[in-house]
Symmetry: C2
Subunit: 424 residues, 2 copies
């Protein structure tokens, strides 16, 4: 612990101290062995389990003080026994993942005689800004540690005691592995100026990952002077092509909407080719209604089913995160892709088709972080993609797109292996 | 041509128009075939050669007006017959490079049955901000076109007529290939507000590449609200290890300084292990002096050679770009790496050693965009690395490091190939 909350008067100087310590620790953690990093992860997991009662007590202090939070926010703030166990399990899974750092690729000899390749290296110092979900503290710290980065964690102020208690477990894990304590630092002040300091210190922070609601992301994006890996909306589409297999179409379109309503990769708009709307939509609509999904449609959709309410322009932009679905009939693949371009959020979009050329065009031309053929948008997820845990999902195009795992927390430098070569 | 210079009164609206047109063109250029893009490049090359006289005439207008420029700046502004031929040749070489767009990698089946992989895709719209070097117009436009991006080019105001003349050649190349004219747009106003508009329009521009001196880069970095691929200093080091091969040490240390003085990958500081300083430095110093290089050294260096002038603290930070070399004797590999960490610019650093473990530690631990063993820092270059032309050299860690070629102008999206799979 660097300071107690009440003693931090000069937030700027305090954050400057964290930043310098993180930069120094990043040098050590970057060259740490895989074994040392894995030991820190598994030892932290062990301590978290051993200290479950202490974690619950710290969390109870936060919950007692958080009288103004609504039920959903209190739930996110709660460290239940299951969540404590999941934190430990998550850290053990990270220990089992391959270490991305130091991997050399594309090493090839050039006409000059030198061998040129690329080595994967940590980004340096990662800043994580998140809301009052204390389990993010362990998850994010673990991913940064495994990828060889130092991290500064700034969680929601309501979770301060919980985060400090988790940080104490991580500190014991780092110490057991002989790694520097400053590799993982938790900001111990609720002062919002700490966020500003983190966002505007490119000398101390190499990348910011905000995790939370849209207003947090927008604030971070507007203020940041360092690169941001960010996730905005998930307005995801499934397009049922004229040559869709009806069974796959029904199965995927139902799953993409109904498997979970509140996730960013849930379908929000269903697009259907006019040639198959009258055959595909009625059975699907029956299933949506049985599941309690409200349907809002274009004029052509309503001509097929008068009980569908009219979709307004805003519906095409909506990320409902709720049992509501917008439905639009289109006259071509191009019209479907134009709709996705205009109203989508470049998150995840799928086509259902047996037509090879349509599948290939959709894959190539839809400019989203995940583009799918004959699969549910709900698969857009770090675990489903085989990345292990994800630090976030990027809807940007720069650096990383889609689920960001360990690799997204690294970069590649060039290496040159020579034998005394010089340039002529 | 979208407007003549004198008619542009509302720069904000003008830039908004360019941005919207670029965004629309980016959709078409992203899906353009390799053949069409290559035809646009080779046809532009042909037109540039055919219109060499017109290009020279436009350039003469710029040179006539640029009375306030010094000789070096006038030289950079000049479109000599050799430079015109080189622009055409550069475009033909880009046509011959592999197309990065659409390449699918790492496609693997997951336990759920879906196949997950990554597809390389353009970034979208690239903004290039550069000084009065008109040949950059053709080079940068070619690289953006080949990588499937639309581009907005904002060159130095002294080169306006030259840039417009080159843009007219590119427009003919695009037209011959059936590609949209707005894929390559040149900003036709000298108003500096145009730069600000480009830097602060994330809705129209996906990445900015500034090319020019340090003040330009610093201004762009300070003002940009979009990602920047930037190159700051090149304070490059060669470290002669205690186990350096003497012949390789002399050859590389001489070449790294003397092959060219004004380039960013030129060595500025030579570090030498104390155990070999007295044997390696005297013959090297003799060669440097014969080449006219001024030597500035630490106390230990001066103890070996009293004619070396004392190096001040500022010398260790200096990017001389001139026949001046700072020399420091260090007592260990760790001290050498600590010096590089403290004073270097994370550009390019080399170790000369026959010791395997020292080579491996230097490769892993030195956090620079290019790290070399037994090779001259002068190799840090897109052509030497086999990338073909480079859009710039990045000293950042995010997205791309070191020489940035076609791949650095792309990103990877996730693709999922399914057969009706849904998430359970």
């Amino acid at each position: 612990m660097t300071a107690s909350q009440s003693s931090i008067k000069d937030v700027k100087a305090y954050m400057e101290g964290l930043g310098r310590a993180a930069r120094a620790a990043s040098v050590e953690i970057a060259r740490a062995s895989t074994a040392a990093k894995n030991l820190a992860l598994t030892e932290t997991a062990r301590v978290i389990e051993a200290e479950a009662a202490a974690l619950a007590a710290a969390n109870a202090r936060d919950l007692d003080a958080a009288t103004s939070l609504d039920a959903a926010a209190r739930d996110r703030l709660s460290l239940t026994p299951a969540r404590i166990a999941a934190m430990a399990q998550g850290l053990r899974e990270m220990a089992a993942l391959p270490d991305p750092v130091g991997a050399i690729t594309d090493l090839a000899r050039r006409p000059s005689g030198i061998q040129v390749g690329r080595m994967r290296v940590p980004l340096g110092v990662v800043g994580i800004i998140y809301e009052s979900r204390p389990n993010v503290t362990a998850d994010a710290a673990g991913l940064c540690l495994k990828s060889g980065n130092a991290v500064i964690l700034r969680g929601g102020s309501e979770a301060l005691h919980s985060n400090q208690a988790i940080a104490a477990c991580i500190a014991r894990g780092l110490a057991a592995a002989g790694l520097p304590a400053a590799a993982v630092q938790v900001v111990e002040t609720a002062d919002r100026a700490a966020v500003g300091a983190l966002l505007q210190s490119p000398e101390h922070v190499d990348v910011i990952v905000p995790r939370g609601g849209k207003s947090l992301i927008e604030r971070v994006t507007a203020e940041a002077r360092v690169p941001v890996i960010k996730h905005l909306d998930g307005v995801c589409h499934v397009y049922l092509d004229a040559e869709a297999d009806p069974a796959k179409a029904e199965k995927v379109a139902f799953n993409a909407k109904c498997q979970r309503y509140g996730t960013c990769n849930t379908m929000e708009t269903l697009l259907v080719h006019a040639a198959v709307a009258s055959s595909l939509l009625p059975p699907l609509f029956a299933r949506y209604r049985a599941a309690g999904v409200e349907l809002r449609g274009c004029a052509a959709t309503r001509a097929l089913d008068a009980a569908v309410t009219p979709a307004m322009e805003d519906d095409w932009y909506a990320e409902y995160l709720a049992p509501i679905l917008a439905v639009r009939v289109v006259s071509s693949l191009d019209e479907a892709m134009q709709h996705i371009r205009q109203y989508g959020s470049q998150h995840t979009d799928a086509i259902i088709t047996e037509n090879y050329s349509h599948a290939m065009r959709f894959l190539r031309e839809v400019d989203s972080s995940s583009v799918m053929v004959n699969a549910s948008t709900r698969f857009a997820d770090g675990f489903e993609y085989g990345l292990g845990a994800e630090i976030g999902i990027s809807t940007d195009k720069f650096h990383a797109r889609g689920p960001v795992g360990l690799e997204g927390l690294t970069s590649q430098k060039w290496i040159v292996l020579g034998d005394g070569e010089v340039r002529g």
